[in-house]
Symmetry: C2
Subunit: 658 residues, 2 copies
């Protein structure tokens, strides 16, 4: 790892050291395509949607009520409702940094928040006021440090994107309060929900103040020593079961585990604690190898929103919380900057296209909280004006009682350009593909600019055109060849027209570039059958389809006669093919189950032959998973049962009925 020399200041994550240097939102612009459309929706619809809901539900009013001394009576929403306002402020700051029109909203919301801050910097509307529980009386469930963390991140975002302002000052006062209260000699505790760790490190990076970093390191070190009370879900729920550096895999509540891991990486990078960094890398490896859905989604269980044991990855009621996707990308990004290894960008890409892009509706005004891989009942359309249970609705809902996901999606889309590319001493690395313009200063002040044009992810052609190279010194453009190309052939075409096959990983072109030089990467985007490790019990005997980075799914609205997706069987011996409008068509059959003539008991001796249900061979239409549930109530499945291969004759066949 080396020191990062100063580059852009408009950085969501700005480590002082690392293998790669992040580029700022003033250095990378997304100019078109898949993510530009989503960022446009985010700016034009989602941000206002979130602001209006929080105003309407009284979550914004909580701050006014706290300032007016009537919060014990009037408080609305769950204990962590404050944090949603902060996440929205962060989203607005990053979006304003690239779009510049949101300053008025930021100022108005900041004005609502500010009077609620206590003289000592404490800011929380759920605790500590007359008639409420005392401050920090419920570290397990109170979320006070969690809320302070998001406040700090919003303050950092404002400082970096728009220049230090009132929100930054509020954030610094809050951070000072946290350090004074939880520093050495203070409360020997941690928050039930990690988040403050990564926030304090980023504030240390912004301000250069060592004590914020020290406090973050203290929180990371303190965790795992049982300072939190045991709960029905065990201390593992909030990762207080063992110290971070001793753990071998992520476990417990997925969002908590991932936020904590992100904060641990931040601490490790800033303190040069390679043991800690290695520990998190090992946890990431084990988690990705055995506890991650095909979509990149993490967290298997609804109860306690937790990771499952190894290979417990049921598509039915996969929890795969949107916020766990956000947190996973946060973690992968930090590990990518620290190590430069493309595997982290591979997982981020998968998660962005199949979790983050899945959560918001096309109009940006409804969201999935959980992103299941198999839904068996259509369910009703959630009301547009009502709060929904967080993980039960079968369609995207406008808002939730626990509404962490909408604002988390909003801030992720707002800062997304920062995830596209990095720089190092040798040049620029492209990690994610989108129409974009990138300009930065390389080592020694060499100014470079490049323009990316691509039809990704529906197409696999990526053209990088050099727009500027301020000197003749050779430099390198590195491009990630995604891991999903394994077993197929990817090509790179040099500026001089030379064409070569490239393997998964980073591929590089180094030369004395001239404006107009073009590099072309041809990625083999075609639908392919995917199968899971045989230990992933819940998907045995099924296959899925992936096309480029996109996971596909069968959705009931594409089946005749209102049939459900559970009637589908596919034939993995025939390759899936591209269909019209971004669909994929596979060979398969529709099984005629007759619910009225169901068996009375769903288990049958193997030695009693059953007449298989009749089945018609047909093409099965699949759509990108992120696009599902935009055409009314439907059922969905990602893992598709294969038509059964011929079995050996069962033993002792006796044709005597059931």
């Amino acid at each position: 790892m080396k020191e990062n020399t100063a580059g852009s200041l408009v950085l969501p994550v700005a480590p002082t050291r690392g293998r790669l240097r992040p580029l700022g939102l003033d250095e990378v612009r997304i100019t078109g395509g898949f993510w530009a459309r989503r960022r446009h929706t985010n700016e034009s619809a989602t941000l206002g949607h979130c602001r209006d809901w929080m105003e309407r539900l009284g979550w914004t009013g909580n701050f006014r009520a706290a300032a007016a001394g009537r919060i014990h009576r009037d408080r609305r929403g769950r204990e962590f409702a404050d944090s949603e306002l902060y996440k929205l402020l962060e989203a607005m700051a990053w979006q304003a940094g690239t779009a510049g029109t949101l300053d008025t909203d930021i100022a108005a919301l900041t004005e609502a928040v500010a009077p609620a801050q206590e003289p000592d910097g404490y800011l929380n509307t759920a605790f500590g006021h007359p008639g409420q529980q005392p401050r920090y009386s419920d570290l397990e469930w109170g979320h006070e440090l969690y809320c302070h963390g998001f406040l700090i991140q919003a303050g950092v975002a404002q400082a970096r994107a728009r220049g230090e302002g009132e929100l930054t000052k509020i954030a610094r006062r809050a951070a000072d309060h946290v350090c004074a209260t939880f520093g050495r000699g203070g409360i020997e505790g941690v928050c039930g929900h990690p988040e403050i760790e990564t926030a304090l490190v980023e504030l240390a990076r912004l301000t250069g103040e060592q004590r914020y970093l020290d406090q973050a390191a203290l929180f990371v070190d303190r965790r795992g020593h049982g300072t939190l009370a045991d709960s029905e879900f065990g201390r593992v729920y909030y990762q207080d079961d063992m110290p971070v550096r001793r753990a071998t895999v992520l476990r417990g509540h997925a969002v908590r585990a991932l936020y904590l891991a992100a904060g641990a990486v931040d601490v490790a990078v800033e303190t040069g604690d390679d043991d800690l960094l290695d520990a998190v890398v090992r946890q990431w490896e084990a988690t990705v190898a055995r506890r991650t859905y095909l979509t990149g989604g993490m967290g298997s269980h609804h109860r306690d929103e937790s990771f499952g044991d190894d290979f417990v990855l049921p598509p039915d009621r996969a929890y795969s919380e949107t916020c766990a996707g956000v947190a996973s990308v946060m973690l992968s990004w930090r590990l990518l900057l620290a190590t430069g290894e493309p595997r982290f960008a591979d997982l981020a890409e998968r998660t962005l296209f199949n979790v983050i892009a899945t959560s918001p509706a096309e109009d940006g005004r409804a969201f999935f909280y959980a992103n299941t891989l198999h839904r068996r009942h259509r369910g009703a359309v959630p009301a547009v004006d009502a709060v929904s249970p967080r993980a039960e609705s079968s369609l995207r809902a406008p808002w939730f009682a626990v509404s962490c996901c909408p604002t988390n999606v909003a801030r992720t889309l707002a800062l997304l350009p920062a995830y596209l590319a990095t720089a190092d001493d040798h040049g620029v690395q492209l990690h994610q593909y989108a129409d974009a313009e990138i300009a930065t200063l390389l080592e020694g002040g060499q100014g470079v600019a490049l323009r990316v044009r691509t039809d990704y992810p529906s197409g696999g052609s990526v053209t990088v055109r050099i727009d500027r190279s301020s000197s003749n010194r050779p430099w390198t453009v590195a491009l990630r060849v995604p891991a999903w190309t394994a077993g197929a052939t990817a090509w790179l075409v040099d500026p001089d027209g030379t064409r070569r096959t490239v393997a998964p990983g980073m591929t590089e072109v180094t030369r004395s570039f001239r404006p107009g030089d073009q590099i072309r990467l041809e990625l083999p985007v075609r639908p392919r059958w995917i199968r899971a490790d045989p230990r992933a019990d819940a998907v045995r005997g099924t296959v899925a389809v992936q096309r480029g980075p996109l996971v596909y799914c069968a959705e009931s609205v594409d089946l005749p006669d209102g049939q459900d997706v559970d009637v589908i069987r596919v034939d993995p011996s025939i390759a899936p093919e591209d269909g019209p409008d971004g669909t994929v068509v596979t060979a398969g059959q529709i099984t005629a189950y007759d619910v009225q003539r169901d068996e009375t008991w769903p288990y049958r001796p193997l030695d009693v032959p059953a007449a298989p249900p009749s089945a018609d061979r047909t093409g099965i239409v699949l759509v990108p998973y992120h696009s599902w549930a935009n055409r009314g109530p439907s059922t969905v499945r990602v893992w598709l049962p294969a038509v059964e291969p011929d079995r050996p004759a069962p033993p002792d066949s006796t044709p005597t009925g059931r």
Copy 2:
């Protein structure tokens, strides 16, 4: 349905009408074998174990504290802790009815409870006292009517088993209070947890008081009209989503759904409401056909302890709560009495041997709360002196914070003889097989007695010997030929030695029996492979073994070198065979997974060939599921992956690596 003429009074369930008449605990005795051993353990260990835990945790003391006016300060345990004492009292009453030694304990516990009853009959230590929430201020979660229900059942049990006493009087006063408070013109509500319905009907049966039945009918009718507040889990959680008679399947919290259905059957039978009875039968059919585990277990989800959608039956973290098993047997028994159909006894048998028998440890001092069909981690041995989380321990635990299951097992084992046999105008029906002595009076006062001898469930030979037949009038002995015999051959040997094959269902021998006459039923107990409906996604590609009524499982303690059950593959083309000591041995293989050399990502394109892990063919030892986890920490699985049959070659095979 016909009127039940008076028979025994020692009846857990005593409908005034029905196709079959139950026999009392003074008419059926279990004299040996599988259930006799368990009932002995129940009497000699479990009852005292439960009593001691409740004394130690202060749950018994709650009643004393309520009487002394200090309950608001001193109350211990969850809001439904009172009910555990009542369930224990019920267990003691039934057990005393057959064993006769527990009267002192019953008197002592009753003496503890009695002073806490309010002058108007209300009895609950969690509500209504100074400093507590008001009575019935939280019908959704407060469990006050639920507790009253179990109190009433205990009072009924005492009256029936030992004669009316103090406990019965307390119960009647409580029931009068419930009717006064929730009757017409009173609170228009229902309890979040059904239970009171079946209790009130049984009290009506005991006392002949119509108003108890009316109140039960009112509770059943009121449910489903949204009188309970919506919750995070929806109103479906407490079956308040639709009226009982409109529902088509059991749904929501499994124990609640099953208790409610049992109460609805009771009401339907007593009021002649055939529509309601038919509705519950249909719900039972749909639930058994699509929402029940191979073990008979019900309830798929840990979160909200609820039924899954149709065919959502993951063996991983199957919830299959012990109390849902108890409640399912309660429901099946009531439906069997009402209709006479053997399918209800089939399910009860499956549930008794594979859920009820699984919960208690061999020593009767530890219990499973959830009965998963697949556990992947060994976990630690729960401390013998600590309360455990209810559904997380990998071994049986002595007691739980929510400890409904131990006392529910205790009362079920105590009243078990009542589930064995019934009578009707024509004779006696044997529904469950155990060494037993049965004596009753048939229509017209004909006294009959029979003795059952069997090695069931390890063997399939059942001998019924007539001990008495007080007249020459012909009568009928009917024997259930279990549904699990389908596809194999069961034999019946008449008293005169005639041997005939019999099909699943009831088989009858009618004659003018003489003492010494013997009937022999030969059931084909041998291990058989079982497969699931193809829509049960989570077990696709696996098979299970059933032998007679017993489901078998692989347990890691039977594998070499401390290996985990997930390395097992079995070969369904070779029939499983009996092994020593009640085990079954199947052909299979042990797969050599090397966790250290894991793939980095568990999904792989089908067109990229993978070298299969090496595997050694070997015999796999299986044990009865009910017996697992009695030999130290282990992992378990019921559904065993089949060795993969040869697949067609994958499309576009490109041997270019991953």
